[in-house]
């Protein structure tokens, strides 16, 4: 007997490929063993419904914090728009900065943690909204959103192309050892 996500599962069910594809799976995951100026994931297939990008990162630049940039399909142009809840009246046009991350002079061991949900990433009909949620501290007591870092962002990439490439980089310096990037594909 075939089960489904909609009806629930029972012991002995046969999982069809179509039903299996409705689940969530990791399509990429790495933890850096050496520093990297960026992590550039290409060739993302368009056969899923949504993407969830999860980042655990810190920069080595000589500051307490720097920005975290996310770019799609290698687009470095001013085609991103975002508004942060920490600065409700501020809409940032042209910036792919989604938040702040700790850097070299931040308290040791602190990393920034971010989730970036990209609904309907493979659509060729409309722009690509991105919902960013994150947490990032530089001293353990000072939230980076107070230093111009956007921590909860409603963003959009103004492009109708399917997303096939995701690039994360610090605004300055390199990601340190132990930084991790995972990408999950959701549904079909």
């Amino acid at each position: 007997m075939s089960g489904s996500w909609a009806t629930g599962w029972a012991t002995g069910d046969v999982v069809t490929a179509a039903e299996f594809a409705k689940g969530v799976g990791c399509i990429y995951d790495t933890t850096l063993g050496v520093g990297a100026a960026s992590i550039d994931v290409t060739g993302i297939v368009g056969s899923y419904a949504h993407l969830l990008i999860v980042a655990y990162v810190r920069s080595d630049t000589a500051a307490s914090a720097t920005g975290l940039l996310t770019r799609f399909n290698g687009d470095t142009g001013a085609n991103y728009t975002g508004a942060a809840t920490s600065t409700a009246t501020s809409v940032t046009s042209g910036s792919s900065t989604i938040g702040g991350i700790p850097a070299a002079t931040a308290t040791s061991g602190l990393f920034g943690g971010y989730g970036i949900l990209v609904p309907n990433y493979a659509s060729t009909v409309g722009d690509k909204p991105a919902v960013v949620f994150g947490t990032s501290f530089d001293t353990g007591s000072s939230n980076l959103q107070n230093a111009g870092n956007q921590v909860l962002v409603n963003g959009v990439w103004r492009n109708t192309s399917a997303i096939t490439r995701v690039t994360l980089s610090p605004a300055a310096g390199s990601f340190v050892i132990g930084s991790r990037l995972s990408i999950y594909a959701m549904g079909s």
């Binding site: 399509i27 990297a36 550039d40 980089s169």
Partner: protein, 85 residues
């Protein structure tokens, strides 16, 4: 040498990692990103300073100690913080 991590699918579609030196274009983009980030931080620091001053002025207005100049400053600050002026 600073490297970037590039991930491409192999012939079987599996993610294949390679470490690549930064190009001149990458470095130029890095410099631009760092400069943009500094500008954002400077603007945020300005906003934080304006907020702090607006709170100070609000306290003086509440206690009736504000001068006419401070009243004008408070109005101007709040308009700037609201993005109106």
């Amino acid at each position: 040498m600073t490297m970037k991590l590039v991930v491409e699918p192999d012939a079987n579609g599996m993610a294949c990692e390679s470490w690549v030196p930064l190009t001149a274009e990458d470095r130029a983009q890095q410099e631009k990103d760092a400069a943009d980030d500094q500008a954002v931080r400077a603007a945020a620091a300005d906003r934080d300073a304006m907020r702090a001053r607006a709170v100070e002025l609000a306290t003086r207005l509440e206690t009736g100690d504000a001068t006419a100049d401070e009243l004008r400053e408070a109005v101007a600050l709040n308009l700037r913080l609201a993005g109106v002026a």
